[in-house]
Amino acid sequence: MEFKGRGLVEGYVEGIALVSEEPISFLGDIDPETGTIVRKDHELYGLTIKDKVFAFPYGKGSTVGSYIIYRLRKNNVAPKAILNVRSDPVVIIGCVISDIPLVDMLPEKFFKKIRSGDKVIVDAYKGVVRILK
């Protein structure tokens, strides 16, 4: 299945999806040293975003979040790509400075279809995401 969104930060990657239904605040939700989701009441608590194609509706919270994304990259625990319904400035800047492919404006049915563990191909040059099932 192929879905068309908007490529905001270029790149082409294949990887395993990790899907959060909730918005993400990189400051507070993610440990920048390990990439683990550390907010206790988060649905994905204890899992890591390292090397995953990380899908969540949108970012929220402190703009320090951009620095957290940058630190994830420096520590080699960043996600391979980020997929959003709508990217906010925190995630856009974080991905630009960390060279993490970013696609947003994916259709609603994409988020209904995609599940954690799915293999996906992200072509952020074209803004296209394919779910391989």
Partner: protein, 397 residues
């Protein structure tokens, strides 16, 4: 997005990888949010520089970009301690060293070491000027009191805007987005900073990202307007509010009153906010200076404390910028020392490592300070107006 030839050159890397990244970040932001071009800014204000907030992530980032220089006049927000008093404040060596690296990185970039949340006291913006400011109270003050133009930039975007000297032309940089959407009628006299801050806070809770027009507030001073902006920035994401008798653009803005949402704010709303905090008649510290105190505000405190013939039982901490600090006459500073009033600069409790300072119970006149101290630091906070804060410090119950 339309880019000039020079902007294209920066984007393609001709000025080096740092400027390229900075330009790319601004262009992507602009494209995502619908800007057609960039606009020059005369003043960038970098927020998010306290090591307490940005940690090693922010430190590494700033150090990497410190290889290059800012291309517009740039000031900086408060850091985690007073540079001259860090030992007295009980700041650990390691924190000091990391914060110093942040400061060095900014210096190398050519950022002015102002360390204040009140950049409008450093350089007061003019009507219509484009700025790239972080720090919500400053953004609201610049737009609403000065009539200048800045969106609510985040820490990293202020760095990029400073490096390029431009921002995407969108949001409240654009005329058509500077119109009120909610009409607020205030049925309570705004007699002091405490009330002004709370009014801002109440309005912000209601408007969220919409632009309010606040009426019926009489002729308020710039200091009172500042407190209002700080409260509004605490509970909302709006960059602009129109203040009757203050905002220079009101007379030029065509306002369709019948189309505005309307709300009223009454005495009970104020009471509810104050009562959500502690009813303290003692504290570890009285904190005044959120946002950083103006010269006038410090002199006012001087007059209040001069009336007492003894020293305060509870230390009164006054926080300001190093610029205003330097303007305060020596006799005022001497009296402060005698009365247990500590005038500090460069910092603020919200961005300092409070766990080392051993402060658990604070009295303040600022809703913004109260909100962040209780939510981020778990400190018990009581809200009172300035004179009452000082009275309690001197043992009046």
């Amino acid at each position: 997005m339309y880019l000039t030839r020079e902007e294209e050159a920066i984007l393609s890397g001709e000025h080096g990888p740092e400027y390229q990244k900075a330009m790319k970040a601004l262009v992507k932001l602009g494209e995502a949010l619908g800007a057609e071009r960039l606009v020059k800014v005369v003043h960038a204000h970098i927020s998010g520089i306290s090591y307490q907030n940005i940690g090693d992530a922010g430190l590494e980032f700033l150090e990497e970009y410190s290889k290059v220089k800012v291309r517009t006049y740039t000031t900086s927000n408060p850091i985690g301690f007073d540079m001259n008093l860090w030992r007295e404040m009980g700041i650990p060596e390691e924190f000091y060293a990391k914060q110093l690296r942040v400061v060095e990185a900014l210096k190398k970039m050519g950022v002015n070491e102002t360390f204040t949340c009140t950049p409008y006291y450093i350089r007061k913006p003019l009507i219509g000027e484009h700025l790239a400011w972080g720090e919500s109270n400053a953004v609201l003050y610049a737009n609403s009191v000065c009539g200048a133009r800045t969106n609510r930039e985040g820490g990293p975007s202020t760095v990029f805007a400073a490096l390029i000297g431009k921002v995407p032309y969108m949001g409240v940089h654009v005329d058509k987005n500077r119109r009120p959407q909610v009409l607020v009628k205030v049925n309570v006299p705004l007699k002091n900073q405490l009330y002004a801050g709370i009014l801002g806070y109440i309005v912000g809770t209601y408007v969220k990202d919409k632009i309010p027009l606040i009426r019926n507030i009489g002729k308020i001073s710039d200091d009172i307007a500042k407190a209002l902006c700080a409260g509004l920035g605490t509970s909302s994401s709006t960059p602009l509010c129109f203040l009757e008798n203050i905002s220079p653009e009101i007379s030029k803005t065509k306002i369709e009153y019948s189309e505005l949402e309307k709300i009223e704010v009454d005495t009970q709303d104020f009471k509810n906010v104050i009562e959500a905090y502690e009813a303290l008649n003692s504290a570890d510290t009285v904190f005044l200076g959120c946002p950083h105190l103006s010269y006038r505000e410090i002199i006012k405190v001087y007059r209040y404390v001069s009336k007492y013939d003894r020293k305060a039982e509870t230390p009164i901490v006054l926080v300001t910028s190093r610029k205003v600090f330097d303007e305060i006459p020596l006799h005022v500073k001497t009296l402060f020392k005698r009365k247990n009033v500590r005038l500090i600069r460069d910092t603020c409790f919200v961005v300092s490592p409070l766990k080392y300072l051993g402060i658990g119970k604070v009295l303040t006149n600022s809703i913004k300070q109260a909100y962040y101290l209780s939510n981020i630091h778990g400190v018990k906070v009581g809200l009172c107006e300035t004179r009452k804060c000082i009275g309690i410090a001197f043992g009046e119950r």
